[in-house]
Point group: D2
Amino acid sequence: MCTRVGIIGASGFVGGELLRILLSHPHVEVRVATSREFKGEYVFRVHPHLRGKTMLKFVEPNIDLISKECDYVFLAVPHGQSLHLVPKLLEVGLKVLDLSADYRLKDPEAYVKWYDWKEPHPYPDLLKKAVYGLPEIHREEIRNADLVAVPGCMSTAGILSLLPLVKHDLIETSRIVIDVKIGSSGAGAHAPRLDLHSYRTYVIRPYEVTEHRHIAEIEQELSLVAGKPVQVAFTPHAVDVVRGILATSHSWAKRPLTEPDLWKAFRSTYGNEPFIRIAKDKTGLHRYPDIKYVIGSNYCDVGFEIDSRTGRIVTFAAIDNLMKGAAGQAVQCMNIMLKIDEKTGLDMTPLFPV
Amino acid sequence: MCTRVGIIGASGFVGGELLRILLSHPHVEVRVATSREFKGEYVFRVHPHLRGKTMLKFVEPNIDLISKECDYVFLAVPHGQSLHLVPKLLEVGLKVLDLSADYRLKDPEAYVKWYDWKEPHPYPDLLKKAVYGLPEIHREEIRNADLVAVPGCMSTAGILSLLPLVKHDLIETSRIVIDVKIGSSGAGAHAPRLDLHSYRTYVIRPYEVTEHRHIAEIEQELSLVAGKPVQVAFTPHAVDVVRGILATSHSWAKRPLTEPDLWKAFRSTYGNEPFIRIAKDKTGLHRYPDIKYVIGSNYCDVGFEIDSRTGRIVTFAAIDNLMKGAAGQAVQCMNIMLKIDEKTGLDMTPLFPV
Amino acid sequence: MCTRVGIIGASGFVGGELLRILLSHPHVEVRVATSREFKGEYVFRVHPHLRGKTMLKFVEPNIDLISKECDYVFLAVPHGQSLHLVPKLLEVGLKVLDLSADYRLKDPEAYVKWYDWKEPHPYPDLLKKAVYGLPEIHREEIRNADLVAVPGCMSTAGILSLLPLVKHDLIETSRIVIDVKIGSSGAGAHAPRLDLHSYRTYVIRPYEVTEHRHIAEIEQELSLVAGKPVQVAFTPHAVDVVRGILATSHSWAKRPLTEPDLWKAFRSTYGNEPFIRIAKDKTGLHRYPDIKYVIGSNYCDVGFEIDSRTGRIVTFAAIDNLMKGAAGQAVQCMNIMLKIDEKTGLDMTPLFPV
Amino acid sequence: MCTRVGIIGASGFVGGELLRILLSHPHVEVRVATSREFKGEYVFRVHPHLRGKTMLKFVEPNIDLISKECDYVFLAVPHGQSLHLVPKLLEVGLKVLDLSADYRLKDPEAYVKWYDWKEPHPYPDLLKKAVYGLPEIHREEIRNADLVAVPGCMSTAGILSLLPLVKHDLIETSRIVIDVKIGSSGAGAHAPRLDLHSYRTYVIRPYEVTEHRHIAEIEQELSLVAGKPVQVAFTPHAVDVVRGILATSHSWAKRPLTEPDLWKAFRSTYGNEPFIRIAKDKTGLHRYPDIKYVIGSNYCDVGFEIDSRTGRIVTFAAIDNLMKGAAGQAVQCMNIMLKIDEKTGLDMTPLFPV
């Protein structure tokens, strides 16, 4: 079996990571990689790590071509650019995995509120049809989806750090803090002066400290799981690595909790998940999640601790933002849609030390 | 005027930073630098950046010598080693600035609870006499102190991020979260396998996530300012820089607050402080504190934002942990004790970009 | 087919990298991983990236056990510790891949000169029998070897940067300079104060600037290829990355050379090599080798330029020191010995950006 | 005494570093800082480390204003932009320190060859009048200069690594290799995609490997000192730090040399230099120059070793490229022109560890 895939927007970091995975995926053939900026150029000239792996050249995006050449298509384009492309790709019968934010939110008005759109989302029916591509919550729907909206990188870490607590109704849902630390590759390959090496090195820099757009997804999904509104206070911080996100979630227990209570919640939520590892240990080098041990892999390491003195529960989720936070998660969804082993082509061991 | 000073424990990072400052301080002469490990060795062989700045050699710690040669003495030794040394140094009439934790807490029992001592602190009278060396709270007492207990690095950032809110009674004092990010130099020059470059690079690593010892100081000082118990939930994270601490404090407003309310609280608390800069801007590269803009200086940059959607107040403090978090703060205290301009010898501009 | 392998010295960086590769190798089963320090401990507690990949525990080194359980054995132990172990392992019929320096040099006296041994190598017959494990020179001998001495990391880069020039007799062999830049993981997991993060970060630090031990291997192999003595002046520099080596080799052409001359030499030497990529381009991001594009892979990227003004030839080789510089190269040799595709289990794409 | 100074092009890294130094210089008042891009903006909004140090605003470049307000003017503009500005500034009687390359080369034709100018330099008389601002060679001429051409950063390190050898005629002058490693701040604040954090991190990247423009200055100055043509083969490498340059120079001794020979050459050349430290030691952490020990200071650390086996001499020079490689060197020249202590305002101790 060989699935033919295309990547729209293949010259950025997420596009490059999709290529890194899909070119080695045993059931996939990459047929099209688009880039307006680099059309006609060999892919390996823009992604030099792929030298020797492919002689593919970038082409301009072209729906006819993609329709003819591909069964599945990944969109790794900036927010706003998927919006009108997705209906056309669906119309010609393609399965679509959209890595932008354009189909993640269920409420058409939410795009006005969180993304500063002038009008509500113009395709409310497609929003309903789209499946939020987090297998840990929506695996069954992904299996039969035509359109998957792949979650944001910080949303993935934020949601997965809190899912067992919310699912088991263990915490107050009005006073949750998610404090995120993130590397530079989240910003993409086209970036402003502040992302130059000299400016972006040696920082611990808070940004969008009360109103980051990923809040909308996190609250949507956690509220769905909780069956009631969940509100999160969210602050991201740029730190001096390229890959990696750690979400540290601070919440307050509804009732006194013990460590076995939390083990139970985490094990029942994640025990069968192929890409979630519970990293909690009394000894060794890995007592809590740390990005260092997931880089280059699709793992999300989660962990927890009870602060019995204050009633706080602190939970963690560590991911590689380009893998479980973007390209890896998209391929995991594709594998589910293809009804093949979810780990196919995604089972790389983290690179350590890096 | 020339004050003669000694440094006990001068071979580590904090000792080196004290030397960097004091060797250029116009009113100070460094007479003694002790190190058991390196006795007899030129200081510049252990601190190569000081080559050409001093021909001093390390000597073994010796109270007679220090008593004869010095007026002021700085202790940059591991926790527990100042305990019995301080009374002897005071007895011979020295002014003492202790950078360890041994005299920071007022409650003798607190050392059993937080530092695992077998017995309560054996010198409760000295604890009373000791002044907690944070000029922003205790300037007047420092002026006349014989013994200053210089605050911990994360405590300094944690307290300064919250001081205006607590002082003006703006937040709930039972649900405060301090999420700290810290560089590697906080761990000192003698460190375990996990602090090797290959292990300590490319991390976002939570540690001592519910019970870090600095909590004791932070609660002591904030409770003192508030006039009632203040409780903090505190989690530090190792990140991949050498110097620098950012404390991000999440708290909940007691009543709806406006930006002018917070400006007023911050300005009235810090308006005359020589080393505190309020970093809050609508434009430019510095909308919130970032360690990048304080490295190499004694500045603490503070900032804030109101998360009106959730009722959260988020405040920040960024410091260089070896400066305002240790050696710089100690020299600031010494300047106050000497009744000279607080900025003397400490007015270095941050090094940017680094 | 499944080859049973053991790793002696499996708790360090090279041991961890062997595990990372071999646990995913389709024709291999890892049966034994030894560590005196961590015996009885789960492997994933020391190598947290392997959590979920193996439930193996470290055992003490034991020849009987290894003999019974394994067909192939990898030695990732400090220099000097393989010396007496290798004959015993060969005696019980194992195929041995030694990653230490103990069997790399052909001349028994060279160990006195370069490794400060008191006596010449005690097993000169084994030195003759040992094959220097650089497939680009010794592929045929490796195929039938019982004992492979896997090259040093900087030797690999140094030799591969110069091999086409020496093989085609294009340069003066008495005035070659190899200027190497190397990351911290080359130093191993047990390291001195200077390898702590705070000391090892932000360095460009020359060391062993005229007498590094890898010179002996480089001169041995290049002289063998040249059929006459080749002398190299060699200086390594520690730089602030964890993985990666770039060798920059400066030499002087024996006669005026053109770019086609060099292309011909490089293509004829490396055209069929599965892990060598010639990285030389007029445009794109990858005009010369850069470690950034090989991290996590077994590739060695090589490149060249003619400095016609001065008569100099400058050539480059970039590798991941833990892969092509150690564990990857060892597995490549094993694949050759097993007569399977050389790329089996080694075909991972470099991780970019990291 | 107070000298009034202006900085043209004050928004980049070199401009920021000039401000960092000059705002604290006891004999200087900064009157004008120009920036077209940021005119009207507070300086501290672009250089956030200067918050609290100055309320100066950027203005557009204006010769009348500068002429009225300033005695000395620093030009920190891109190459080519000083060319026509310098004559006008001289004409109105200003002392000019130009940090661009436009007045560094003595031969008007050299700008065609090395800088791709269409025509030779249009002001050959000014080239003659300009003094190459390396105090270690031209101190006396700088004293009376009206126009100083401040050397390039890699030129400074390259020349200073070789000066004692060339001055004392110890090496062959036709086979010198300078292998340079440099941080990202050398590229300036306006930089292409390759200088983004994600691309520029984790590199050891050779560039302009045979024809870098700094060769022209290095050969000009070393030939001048030698009294005969000196030719250098020069290759720079980008490494993952922000500040810092290490030049490693490989040359061949004309006759067998001893360590005392080299000590004599280095001491006689640099013994009285206020900013050169000979870093050569048998023990300690600083056996050879390392950028780690000069960051934030105007020091150039130099060192050497004899490779008696091959006849090679290897010498080193480590600088902070924004200090001794640019702004610090410019201020050192200004101090000489002002006939004040050369170290005035420049005597900062390196920041360690950073």
